[in-house]
Symmetry: D2
Subunit: 337 residues, 4 copies
């Protein structure tokens, strides 16, 4: 930690700070600058208590941490890219992967039609929500276990792995029984108890970025998964909340190079949530592929206008087939398969 | 719903929209304007499916909802202010209330000292976290049940009601056994399963505003509590996330008049989380009182510099006593007791 | 400046950093921590070139400035509060001041009626826009010089000082001839050429906070005024841009204690722009007074529904009189006159 | 405009609204819905006064505009893409263009070295700031006219067109004499007087997006240029301000498909300002190319560590050459030359 003192403080005030630093277990190191005195407090910031409380002492101007607080998810901990094996599909390897399917599982016909269509177009994982977190209590909340059974049926018929959302600790066992990847939604991205429960199932966890989550907070939420002995973590950028209202969220594609720099875990882009508008999905996908994403998570529906949730951001089966075709040259340009 | 069509579309495209509107159960009503044709879709937006999916049809420019989506929390549903009775302390009535105590319960001495001191200074509810949601898995996570027992002891000794955070459905029964008010934290504000579980305990629920939650989303999260047959809901503004870094969050005091306009539920202000800096707490409290808040939620610690969590935002026992004194003229000016 | 090195770098890479630090005129001071080596670069950060470029060297993890970059506006430079004398009205002293008037000067009757009414209710400065910055080129752009002449007439009739917006360097001489305070709008808050030109007129300058301006940037924009030898600067918070759409802006009242801490200049609150809704103005004003603002800037119009600009945020003459009455107990509670 | 009335209002209150709508020149059209009555106010919203003031009437719940407020920049006004011809270089056509050069012009050697290097690597326009808007008055403010003369010299030697920033109306004539494209910076994006002055020079104008500018505001700022009879407008996304601090700004690449949808003007991406970190520039460029940008604006410096401004975001000459090489497959995939 770096502690910056205010100018012109008394010797006594300075000594009090040094004493407190030592009391909290750090070794202080003084540097006298032109206008300010700066104290380096030497000690492991992850095992010692934070010195940030000093910031409100009248003689202290600022306290700045030096170390990163995440460990297991960091690139330092694991130099090589890590990858996730989902029923033979490798996410985070040479091959670019596409996860696609409806926002919500609505009925057998809707799901199976979609599953066959996305598989034919080249998707390798099927997405579909059985339990849905909805802003209003009066909206469709998902088919629950019935939805999970339909997903399992679609997997049997198509061979596609399944990704579906986990939104309650109470559903952990049930959802883990059916899913190949557990998705943690943006609104639960700092629901740490859910993260721990998900980690403990042993299934791969896809962690969406919260609506106003900073990079460090996102990595630390991921750290909850790895610290609970589950190495299979995927980060998924799905748009952040900004002042802009033209799009539902602002898809922050800079997370692709940033997660690659800071972490060894794969990075997935969700352009459907990201924009909230199906007419922007193709363009977003091209950008994500070009910038080095490991996979896409795309909402596809046989008839978006009648979808029970988020119709505005789902694309049609034909639209998806076209999109997969149009992405090919960009996947090649990015050096992927 | 209002559906705005693009200019110069074909008759056929217009008819398709009208047909879809009828199919989804609304009655269309056409208005031809100067440059645009606008269709009013008449029908209850809360029971019919949303028309927002039409927004991505090529012939549609925009879809705008007309109705508010919240019902039970709204001022329309309940004209008078509602109030919550916590062991004889009325929140939402003529008397201004102050909830105070440490961020985390750390040990018996810390808690009891604080409880006696805040009671003496005029607080009527004791706050203290037994289960703590922490950004990093390596930080202090609270004393758990031991903390709850200490809170109960403090209640026995001081007579103060207890507010403490509920952060896991699994703890519902346990926390509800000890707490007089269940606090739902900002990071769980859209953890709908937790909201439902909290509501079902029958205990009053204090719902903090999420870091990037819009007014409507906050009211709808509150709707989850009332829709699960628990009328005892308090809204608590604790700062939102903005671009500003000088303060940890931006305390949005405009929520006081806004919640009063839109809802009948009491509004509480948390200036400690709101600024993340103890030196701003007093000023924030004055503003909150003047603007008509029903209560304050303040973090107080015997020795903030050695607090196990969020030391920078906790004030001392003496600071709290001074604050209570300084608030008096503002409480009087606001017409409260 | 503090330069944090990455762990496990070579000696040669470290030496290169030290060399560059010296080359840019700083004296390096090494601290070896548990996981990281940190270099304190000693030298005046305001006269030396920034070391922030080092942040992109592969062996450097982070560079953190230590000094504040503003000087003349800072509390350190001038311990006492400074105040502005506008035709005998002191802003920043014991007496609380209210500036009020229409968003735009529209015609003689509208302005004079308003001027007399706000004076009678207790306002001491008259506001009114003659040149209006409008989001669209097709909106009313103000009466220009004719508006200034009407403001001068209102001053002659009422004795109220005049504040009006300066939005172009070309108008500097003209506006300064009529105005007692030059207002710099939020959209021009970092139009540095305009700030310099305004400063050079010698008239007091009221600097609104830009829509997404951080505290440091705002203070530095103010520094442009003082550095151009004009000591008469007022800061004015008028709401920042956030994700919230219920209000037009989010009025950040925490700026009152913050500007008081960091600077000696008076702080004014504009609740009209701040919320964009006249029904929230009274509540915002109460908060601002309680938190220690030096003055308010309020939009008042004889008939807001027919105002040529921003009608939704202007209050009526009667509303203003009531507001002034309701503020009295809060002004007293805040220890002002 | 759509005016939504509150439920259960009196007939008299409704009539008052209808009267006001007519008075402001619109023709009201009533629709009675299930819970709300909605009035369509028919009339051209760009020539009539706004009805938004009605929003604060007690009987009115909301007012929603129907028309878009921009006209000349809109895709409706001009179906085909427009393009800008800069000394034979076409921006907005089949060929992808790259503008590159130093943040600030520092001296002859720095500029000429860079100009020759970027030309060799494939850039077709040279960028370089002669007048620099700086957050602090104590930072390097640019070489002024001397810088412009160096840019002219670089143009003579390399044949590259010149883009440079205009930040003051007073410099209009001077800068327009040297520049081929006038750049309006993010902090001046709503400095409407500057936009008008820039438009009137007749030179092409590149308009950066303001730090917290919504799409509609940006398009309207562009409208100021076209409405002043200058058809040569380029939009440039350079990152918006969000809560994220890992990057200096959040580059919003979704602006590429959005500007293409809403407007006929070319869209340029500035990845240097966008991230504020040179190590992210290459990845951002790939995304921008893939998503259909017409051009890039990249900061390049012979020795970024010693740059007089924004060193952290400038890339080296070698880095630029490599980047141009790496972009080739993506430019081809995007169907450009």
């Amino acid at each position: 930690m770096i502690v910056v003192l205010k100018p012109n403080i008394t010797k006594k005030d300075e000594v009090a700070v040094l004493k407190e630093i030592r009391k909290l277990g750090y070794k202080p190191h003084i540097m006298r600058g032109v206008e300010r005195t700066v104290i380096g407090a030497i000690g492991d910031e992850r095992t010692h208590q934070s010195l940030e409380t000093l910031a409100v002492w009248p003689q202290v101007e600022r306290v700045m941490p030096v170390q990163k607080r995440y460990k297991l998810v960091s690139r330092e901990a694991h130099k090589a890219n890590s990858s996730i094996n989902v029923r033979g599909t490798i996410i985070g390897g040479k091959k670019f992967q596409v996860m696609a399917g409806p926002c919500s599982v609505e009925d057998e016909k809707q799901l199976l039609t979609t599953a066959h269509a996305v598989k034919k177009a080249g998707a390798t994982i099927l997405r579909g929500g059985a339990f849905k977190p909805r802003t209003s209590p009066y909206e469709f909340q998902g088919l629950g276990e019935k939805g999970l059974k339909l997903l399992a049926k679609a997997r049997r018929e198509t061979g596609l792995g399944i990704i579906t959302e986990l939104l309650s600790q109470d559903h952990c066992e049930l959802v883990a029984e059916y899913a190949d990847i557990l998705q943690i939604g943006a609104r639960n991205a700092q629901n740490f108890q859910l993260l721990i429960a998900a980690a403990k199932t042993g299934k791969p966890v896809l962690l969406k970025r919260g609506l106003s989550m900073k990079v460090e907070e996102w990595l630390l939420a991921g750290e909850y998964v790895l610290a609970n002995e589950n190495p299979n973590l995927l980060f998924c950028e799905r748009g952040i909340r900004t002042f802009e209202t033209y799009t539902r969220n602002t898809l922050d594609l800079s997370m692709i190079p940033i997660i690659k720099q800071e972490s060894h875990c794969p990075i997935v882009i969700d352009p459907s949530q990201g924009a909230g508008r199906s007419d922007l999905v193709l363009s977003m996908c091209k950008g994500a592929v070009a910038m080095g994403a490991d996979a896409l998570l795309i909402e596809v529906h046989p008839n978006p206008a009648e979808a029970l949730s988020d119709g505005a951001q789902q694309i049609t089966l034909e639209g998806f087939a076209r999109l997969m075709e149009e992405l090919k040259p960009f996947i090649a340009a990015a050096g992927k398969e």
